[in-house]
């Protein structure tokens, strides 16, 4: 993944938070980690295919996610309510969609979001994937955006194998 693509996600996270939540979000320098274990307990996942293949994972501690969802929806929603997962899914959808729109030289399709809630869950992608983690924070707490991508050559090798 190129640095400008990571910047597209940084910009998109800030834009989604400022526009939909009227709250600023800050991000620290990206770090690389092995894919598999999202940082927190509430995870929204969206897949990408086309010129960029992989996934975008938005991960919050439960209390942070509940705070963010309350700001987004204008009401307090418990993490056990189906509307809570719907809101987290819509957030990751807007973040991935916003980043996609900035990667104008690439044709990317995104999937419908999925949401997983529970401690110590794992999300496994394809072998050889690279995961770039954007540590972020807002007034509701810390969260991460994790972008896992498969380089085109790796994808071809994987398919050939």
């Amino acid at each position: 993944m190129e640095m400008q693509d990571v910047s597209a996600f940084v910009h998109s996270v800030r834009n989604v938070f400022e526009t939909m939540l009227q709250m600023s979000a800050q991000s620290q320098d990206p770090i690389v980690k092995p894919p598999g274990h999202p940082s927190f307990d509430v995870t929204g996942i969206i897949g990408m295919s086309g010129d960029v293949t992989g996934s975008v994972v938005l991960s919050f501690p439960i209390a942070t996610a509940e705070g963010v969802v309350a700001l987004m929806t204008g009401q307090s929603i418990s993490h056990t309510d189906p509307d809570f997962a719907d809101a987290v899914g819509e957030l990751v959808n807007m973040i991935a969609g916003g980043a996609k729109a900035q990667m104008r030289d690439k044709k990317i399709t995104i999937t419908y979001p999925s949401v997983i809630i529970g401690s110590d869950h794992a999300v496994f992608g394809r072998k050889g994937a690279t995961c770039v983690v954007l540590p972020c924070s807002c007034d509701c707490g810390d969260f991460t955006v994790e972008i896992t991508t498969i380089e085109p050559t790796e994808a071809i090798t994987d398919v050939a194998a």
């Binding site: 939909m20 987004m72 719907d86 819509e90 807007m94 916003g98 996609k100 729109a101 419908y112």
Partner: protein, 122 residues
């Protein structure tokens, strides 16, 4: 005014409903995808539709095409994360009257709604 909201996310429909209620629009019909919208549009007879693009079962673009094929001239605002110019052109060719990119502020959605209704009234 009768308005139909077509989006697979209940959260997004609720956000739109809140903005529309604040504008004084309360005759709202909701649909969770294009197929659901097609089944409700006859009875609801909306005077304005807000339609998402990416939805299961039937996407927003297919719904817009089917609605236009049926002869409906009701104004349609596409509300979507699809922000690429080529997608906007594709939507307009299909019969969309205006376009809002998610995320949006209450002000930007209000502006597009007012703009669309003013254009239709002219």
């Amino acid at each position: 005014m009768r308005i139909m909201l077509v989006d697979d996310s209940r959260t997004m429909r609720n956000i739109q409903k809140r903005i529309l209620n604040e504008l004084g629009y309360t005759e709202l019909t909701e649909a969770a995808d294009g197929l659901d919208a097609l089944s409700k549009v006859g009875a609801a007879d909306p005077q304005l539709l807000l339609v998402d693009w990416n939805m299961p079962n039937m996407d927003g673009l297919s719904f817009v095409k089917k609605l236009r094929e049926s002869g409906s001239k009701a104004p349609i605002i596409m509300v979507t994360t699809e922000a690429e110019k080529s997608r906007v052109i594709e939507a307009i060719k299909a019969g969309v009257n205006n376009y809002v990119v998610k995320p949006f502020t209450p002000e930007s959605l209000t502006e597009r709604i007012n703009e669309t209704l003013a254009r239709m009234a002219a």
